[in-house]
Symmetry: C2
Subunit: 166 residues, 2 copies
Amino acid sequence: MENKQEIIFEPIGIIHTPYINEAPYQPVANDTKEFIVELNRKYVDGLKNLEEFKFIYLIFYLDKVNRKVEMNIKPPWADGKEVGLFSSRSPNRPNPIGLSIVKIKKIVGNKIYTSGVDLFNGTPLLDIKPYIKDLDSKSDANYGWINNSEDEEHLALHIKGIPHSH
Amino acid sequence: MENKQEIIFEPIGIIHTPYINEAPYQPVANDTKEFIVELNRKYVDGLKNLEEFKFIYLIFYLDKVNRKVEMNIKPPWADGKEVGLFSSRSPNRPNPIGLSIVKIKKIVGNKIYTSGVDLFNGTPLLDIKPYIKDLDSKSDANYGWINNSEDEEHLALHIKGIPHSH
């Protein structure tokens, strides 16, 4: 079973971040800069009621990744540990689809002002979904192979492979 | 800003479910039937360490949806309330990308045996990501416009627009 079907998507908007030519070097949650999800105007009516949710999923196209895809990767911070690609959040995936959860600050027209997200400016948006408490917040989730002694923001940087100062 | 870029993905596997010609009519979490995520063999090494996670995200292509996309929808169970498409988990989206969280039961070769997921048999898989406690489990999430008096499984069926007996 090796399905060769092609699936074609189109951006429905664009994600504006302060990160133009380099990845963020600071924990994004502390970032006071603006992060704006700009939806194509023809879809603006689809935002009705979205502001009633605290969190949303952003699904986007990782258009700036190095496309060399390896099935095993060694996260530079993991003491040489080699893990499977699908056990990681590395952007170098067969389908470079990114998934982030952000907090909604406000919605004005076709623009959603959100909490920080460590994406390059101009990242194409594919979908927005509401993050719904009981469906999406799994209190009995775990950390898998990841050392959970790290604090959350720091951990997030490691998991996503973003260089930063310790 | 109306980006017309085409983004091309390929299935990396297929999701096997008991639901062939009709949507599931029972809460999936009680289903004792088999749900198997079958990854294309060339990607099998990418599954290393995945079994250490309790939960994973499945990202898939909703290939069987009615593609008529409306920006406002009336979920049949919501007393005539009209909500924005992006405030819903309706499958009829500009890019029909689905997102589900499942529990891993076991992994054998290129097959991941999972908890129930309300998808049609043969749904094309686009990506697998680990669900990582601190990154993904937002304990302060809310229900948005959704009445949270429903129990979780029942709520899930409603949100996803799956017909079922009350």
